[in-house]
């Protein structure tokens, strides 16, 4: 009788096969688990981390755009009205005042606004909150500086799990250290509050409804000021007069003298910065230009011209229109015609100048100092601008909405070059041509005799110098022409005076990487 053992063998085979499948499956499952986790990290978490920054930078752009409105459309800047995707701006709430601490000398005001959340991205999975505050005002020239803080949040899709850091040593965490995930709580709020030692909005929960990633950035905006060069024309340029010239000087050394052809002069290096910038290709040269020239598409070369510096025919630029400034409370209204002003209550400061508004055309405007002290005034002329006379120690900013047609001898600036604290005679008389809102062209005609010490910023004006006047200071206009013996002499001290803010630019970027 035979003994059959086949069934036992068959069982062993099945066990072996199952064991093998189990082992391979375990290996495969482990690899799949790792791959799934790594795929989750590399696709979802990296995406979320980058998109959180995109959202934060979008918030920064929103804030920056609002800051720029301060110059271009002050009436609509930080408007509280809004809804839905454009929620408007909210003045600083009591529970989150202006950020502190501040360095010594900072003059933080209680001006702070917040806006958001704005939703963006796929299925509105991104959101941004932004705050803007005026963290500093320079008392010397009344320039304001704004701080924009934006928080970007990205919802984290995929598996709610940290990445694998098995390649790191025991004391460091790779992905979790870099791309921090808020699974249940907003880590910024729970750890750092608002980041400035201020209490949080008690109604704002610290928990999060879904896993998210958050990044925070801070941008600093600084003003772009009116006078960043010698002579700028956004349209055409035809000058100086065939018998005139364009050069430069530095008023800290005293009154202007022509030394551009005298290398032995100690002021020679200051004499060749009479730079001309033209926003189009339309450039015609009369007399010599001691400085650089830029055009936008011109064909100017050294050959056949008398330009001492470099020539670049590929420099486009634009200059924003100038809007009428908002009158502060307590200003004084003057009638049209002839006015003589002597501030009686105070000399004024850069931050709070004596402010006057002329209701119509101004045929003559005289500004006297307060007892011979430095006196600061701002005058807004709602019409044409005529004769101007300012006394020594008067610093005047004169805005006008109409045209200006005057003899050079009737623009009288009695300040003195090189006199501390205001070194520049031209910088003491700043003339601003407000851009016409109907698209028309403003005209500025300066005729002989005499010379002018002033700066002028009129981005929509056609300026004409005829005869023999010389202009000392800085000029920004649309079209410029000068004939005869007219000339222009740029005062390098204007670069320090700067003029009013005409726009803002970003000057600093930091990220809170905690």
């Amino acid at each position: 009788m035979k003994v059959q053992q086949k069934q036992a063998n068959a069982g062993s085979t099945i066990i072996c096969a199952l064991s093998t499948i189990l082992i391979i499956s375990l290996i495969g499952a482990n690899v799949l688990l790792n791959c799934a986790t790594r795929y989750n990290a590399s696709s979802k978490q990296v995406k979320g981390w980058k998109e959180a920054l995109y959202a934060a930078e979008a918030g920064g752009d929103i804030g920056f755009n609002e800051v720029r409105k301060i110059c271009s459309s002050p009436g609509t800047a930080f408007s509280t009205s809004g809804s839905g995707s454009a929620p408007g701006w909210t003045p600083s709430p009591g529970f989150s005042p202006v950020p502190t601490p501040n360095p010594a000398g900072a003059t933080t005001t209680a001006v702070a606004y917040s806006s958001g959340p704005y939703y963006l991205g796929q299925s509105n999975s991104l959101q941004t909150m932004v705050t803007v505050d005026k963290f500093y005002t320079d008392p010397a020239d009344a320039q304001d500086f704004y701080r924009i803080r934006a928080t970007g949040t990205a919802r984290l899709f995929g598996i709610p799990r940290v990445g694998m850091d098995d390649r790191m040593d025991g004391s460091t965490r790779g992905d979790a250290w870099l791309r921090r995930i808020d699974f249940a709580y907003n880590r910024y709020k729970t750890t750092f509050g608002d980041g400035d030692n201020n209490a949080l909005d008690p109604t704002d929960p610290k928990t999060v409804s879904a896993p998210q990633m958050t990044r925070r950035i801070e941008l600093i905006t600084v003003p772009i000021t009116a006078f960043t060069g010698a002579l700028k024309a956004t349209g055409t340029f035809n000058g100086p007069g065939s018998a005139g010239l364009i050069d430069s000087y530095d008023s800290k050394n005293g009154a202007y003298t022509f030394v551009a052809n005298n290398p032995a002069s100690p002021y020679y290096s200051d004499s060749r910065n009479g730079d001309v910038s033209v926003g189009t290709s339309n450039f015609l040269e009369g007399g010599p230009i001691y400085g650089n020239l830029t055009t936008n598409g011109g064909t100017v070369s050294k050959s056949g011209t008398s330009i001492s510096g470099t020539i670049d025919n590929n420099v486009p630029f634009t200059i924003p229109p100038l809007v009428k400034p908002a009158n502060p409370s307590g200003y004084t209204t003057l009638s049209s015609g002839s006015n003589s002003i002597t501030p009686v209550t105070a000399t004024g400061t850069s931050l709070v100048p004596n402010w006057y508004v002329v209701s119509g055309n101004s045929s003559s405007l005289t500004v006297n100092s307060v007892g011979g002290a430095d006196t600061l005034v701002t005058i807004v002329v709602n019409g044409d601008l005529g004769k101007i006379t300012i006394a020594n120690h008067v610093k005047a900013k004169i805005y006008f909405t109409g045209n200006m047609s005057v003899k050079a001898s009737n623009v009288v600036n009695n300040n003195v070059d090189g006199t501390s604290p205001y070194l520049s005679r031209a910088g003491q008389l700043q003339i601003y041509g407000i851009s016409p809102t109907d698209g028309s062209t403003q005209t500025i005609d300066i005729s002989p005799p005499g010379n002018v010490w002033a700066t002028i910023y009129a981005p929509n004006a056609d300026m004409s110098l005829t005869g023999n006047p010389d202009w000392f200071g800085a000029i920004v206009v649309h079209n410029f022409s000068g004939n005869g013996n007219t000339g222009f002499h740029y005062d390098k001290e204007i670069a320090a005076i700067k003029g009013i803010a005409i726009d803002y630019q970003l000057a600093s970027y930091v990220e809170d990487v905690r």
Partner: protein
């Protein structure tokens, strides 16, 4: 019986070999993915730091990147930490200075626009410097100043000695003193280290010959700079290949990144 055992043994051997091969293959995939994750992490770290830097400097032999970053958060020991350190951990409010070239924003540091240096010499003078003995140790950043330079000695209110010789001669230079963090990326064996003000963090560590390559490009006319980063590794399944094949395999793993400085370059 013998035939059956032989066949069975052969099948078991085949299964065993397959299992080992599969495991090696799975391990290679796992390793490849893991190293790729580290590539991404390195790029993300460096991009984050480069974007918020004042200056980025790369070096070869050995490869390294040094970022000079504004000191945004107030730390213990900072002059503005407050008498009882009440401001430690808070975000710092910047200061603004200006000259004819525009505005400069500083976080806890200060800038002068009249610095004078001589190439090869360690003396820096500045009429407006207002230096004090407590300035020793402050970082110095600016044109003609090597990266990592600090004030090593105080002479008087207008003169200090630098820890490194200046690389340029000039006057009227814009130089920033103090309160900037220095972040350095270096390679140590199979690890990539990030060192911020002396604190070392291992941000990647691999047996796959992870190899970063950095190059910073300065755009002097635009006052900016960008940092190119490419990172390669040699997958473990390619270690038995010849050098040409290994080069090809390594090239295939390249991860590129370009990060622009958001701040105006200083120095």
């Amino acid at each position: 019986m013998s035939v059956a055992v032989a066949i069975g043994g052969f099948m078991l051997a085949a299964v065993l070999i397959t299992s080992v091969s599969l495991q090696k293959s799975f391990n290679a995939v796992d390793n490849y993915f893991a190293t790729h994750m580290q590539q991404i992490r390195i790029v993300d770290y460096i991009s984050r730091d480069a974007k918020r830097s004042y200056v980025v400097t790369s070096a070869t032999g050995p490869q390294s990147v040094t970022c000079t970053i504004p000191n945004y958060i107030i730390a213990t020991g900072d002059k503005d930490a407050g008498g009882s350190n009440q401001w430690v951990g808070k975000r710092r409010t910047p200061t603004v200075s200006s000259n004819a070239n525009g505005y400069t924003v500083n976080y806890g540091s200060r800038t002068v626009n009249d610095a004078a240096t001589t190439s090869g010499a360690s003396t820096l003078t500045s009429t407006s410097g207002a230096f004090t003995a407590s300035d020793v140790g402050l970082s110095v950043n600016g044109s003609g100043i090597p990266t990592g330079t600090t004030i090593s000695a105080y002479t008087n209110a207008t003169t200090v000695t630098l820890s490194k010789n200046a690389t340029g001669t000039g006057t009227g230079a814009t130089v920033t003193f103090g309160a900037a963090s220095t972040v350095t990326y270096t390679i140590s064996g199979q690890s990539i280290l990030r060192t911020e003000n002396g604190v070392v963090t291992t941000i990647a560590s691999s047996t796959d010959n992870l190899l970063p390559d950095f190059s910073d490009v300065q755009l002097a006319l635009a006052n900016t700079e960008y940092l190119n980063t490419s990172i390669t590794f040699l997958p473990i399944f390619a270690t038995n290949l010849n050098s040409t094949q290994q080069t090809t395999e390594r090239t295939g793993t390249t991860l590129y990144s370009t990060a622009y400085l958001r701040n105006k370059r200083r120095g």
